[in-house]
Symmetry: C2
Subunit: 350 residues, 2 copies
């Protein structure tokens, strides 16, 4: 690692693959998972990349994840499948599910592949973007890996930040990539604020009396707020049912908090939908049309104080370019944690 | 119509069908559209039912909608289709598209049918609920029929309230039906506030300086706010692209304000997705699982002052039961408008 504490994408990927290999993951699977995890860091999703590796490995060592899963198709139709992930790493399960969805969608036009007995799979955008690289549209839903939200008006933690990601290919502009939690803030942002000793803005969380909660150290006394109040509650509920209940995966009271419990099977559920653009339009024209969407939005008159209109995926694309050129910054505390991990696993450090 | 100003669902449906028939719509098509419009009123979606009939008929008389459309499939795959609605009424186009999606999903497991050259089709839930009556899950997206929102940070009206509806069948509890605009308030709510002489709560609209706009008579000076700020902007953008751009339907600057312009072809775009539950799970078990979701949410501890936890679709179901038993209330001004309409068309009044 260079002095300015950045690491090249290829080096980060190789490091993650070494660590997973040392945990008994077969080489090609380790390369797949490491590629996706390092891509999360490359895209600026710092809370979902190598930052998670120590936790994943803690779970692997505790017997909470299966390093040699045998994926099975519990149900299959021409345009659908339900995959049992055999408690494998979520990245591996959803990479497999997304490949299958794309293969099916090439013939049928659209495919919907669900997964159960999976695990945390990193940022939602990873899987939505796979179809978008092949003239398809990707849409991903998941049950979040810990409940941080009650139903609207309630105080029991029955729902998660259940995210949606959608990726749309473009021509000259970056792809449009929406990747959002159904809560105002993802829980990772609360943890980051606590680490930095910062207060949270009003609107992220409320306490059990409905009052704004702005001290992230008091996060256990309250819960995340959904976007648009009852609307975000509805979206979280629906996405959770589609990714969880329909797949026979955990939802509601059955969700295992994977931060607090490293051994219990999480039975995480996800969905990937792949839509073949050629089933609706000439892909070349569609990509030009997405460029036109960029131009329309970008050229809107702006409110006072707004320097630029942004589109979803714009920051992700810029960070990816910057980090491809300059490397991925690894903060000192994480670097130390990863050095300890390498020592414990007997692999070369980053 | 009875003295208490309610009308039976069957009578309302028959009245709407008479009016459409008098405008040259073939009898079976008029029955289909009237059934859907009256169902909107029965479900309590008052702004999307018979209330819209005078405006539709104004458009029909102005030559802005085609009473004898010829639907064509511009593209088709086993699990997808793109329908050209030939500028027919949106209800007719989307009823046709949803029937097709359900038929395809029975074989392939999932189907995605898009439409272009359609028109306003009433409440989104109408189409999401059709698959839910046959052990399927329905998901509907549309480009709204007038732009009321700029991109986040902008002031040009390039986006609409682009809604999503999802319906999930249950066993003993009502189906879960989410039907929501991606804005905090639908524009119809602003118009209702203006009619009633009420102020709007902060959070519905802002003016061009970003200040809260609470006087609905000043609505033209501002715009609707998306749920969750940039997140709701992202959802509106994505749903608009999927329902509009992908289908070759109007989006952004091309959207025709159907309230202001009765003659221009709106080229409205919609999407219906049908998912066959049996492709993932035993439908009997799934419906029981949805009942369990109801029970989990309902039994959550509640915040002070909250009398009950509600689920999406609960009010719709209650209103449907009430109005089935007691009739559909028609406010006096609307009743007068409909009486005028009947006279103009030479059909029997409601």
């Amino acid at each position: 690692m260079s002095l300015n504490q950045t690491v090249a994408h290829a080096d980060l990927k190789a490091f993650i693959a070494r660590c997973l290999g040392a945990c008994g993951m077969p080489e090609s699977d380790a390369a797949t998972v490491a590629g996706l995890m390092a891509q999360a860091d490359l895209m600026g999703q710092d809370g979902h990349g190598v930052f998670r590796l120590p936790m994943y490995i803690k779970r692997i060592h505790a017997g909470g994840m299966n390093m040699t899963p045998n994926f099975t198709r519990l149900h299959e139709r021409p345009a659908t499948a339900l995959i049992d992930g055999d408690n494998g790493m979520g990245h591996l399960v959803m990479h497999h599910a997304t490949e299958l969805a794309m293969q099916k969608a090439r013939g049928t036009g659209v495919a919907w592949v669900g997964a159960r007995h999976s695990n945390h799979a990193g940022p939602a955008s990873l899987y939505a973007m796979m179809p978008a690289r092949e003239n398809m549209i990707g849409l991903y839903l998941a049950v979040g890996s810990a409940n941080h939200m009650p139903p609207w008006g309630g105080t029991d933690m029955l729902l998660s930040t259940n995210p949606i990601a959608v990726a749309l290919p473009s021509r000259d502009f970056p792809p449009i990539v929406l990747d959002m939690a159904t809560t105002v803030a993802a829980y990772g942002k609360v943890k980051t604020a606590a680490q930095r000793g910062e207060m949270m803005p009003e609107g992220w969380m409320i306490d059990r009396d409905g009052k704004p909660l702005t001290d992230p150290n008091r996060a256990a006394d309250g819960f995340l707020l959904p976007i648009g109040g009852p609307k975000g509650y509805g979206l979280s509920l629906i996405f959770g049912i589609l990714a969880g209940v329909l797949n026979g995966a955990a939802f509601g009271r059955d969700v295992v908090d994977f931060n607090a419990d490293a051994t219990s099977t999480t039975n995480t559920g996800h969905v990937i939908l792949a839509l073949d653009i050629a089933a609706f339009a000439d892909p070349v024209k569609f990509r030009a049309d997405i460029d036109d969407v960029w131009r329309q939005m970008k050229s809107s008159a702006r409110m006072t104080g707004v320097d630029e209109i942004r589109l979803p995926g714009e920051r992700l694309n810029k960070v990816t370019r910057d980090r491809t050129a300059q490397g991925i910054p690894i903060p000192a505390p994480l670097r130390e944690t990863l050095a300890d991990l390498a020592r414990d696993l007997g692999v070369a450090a980053l």
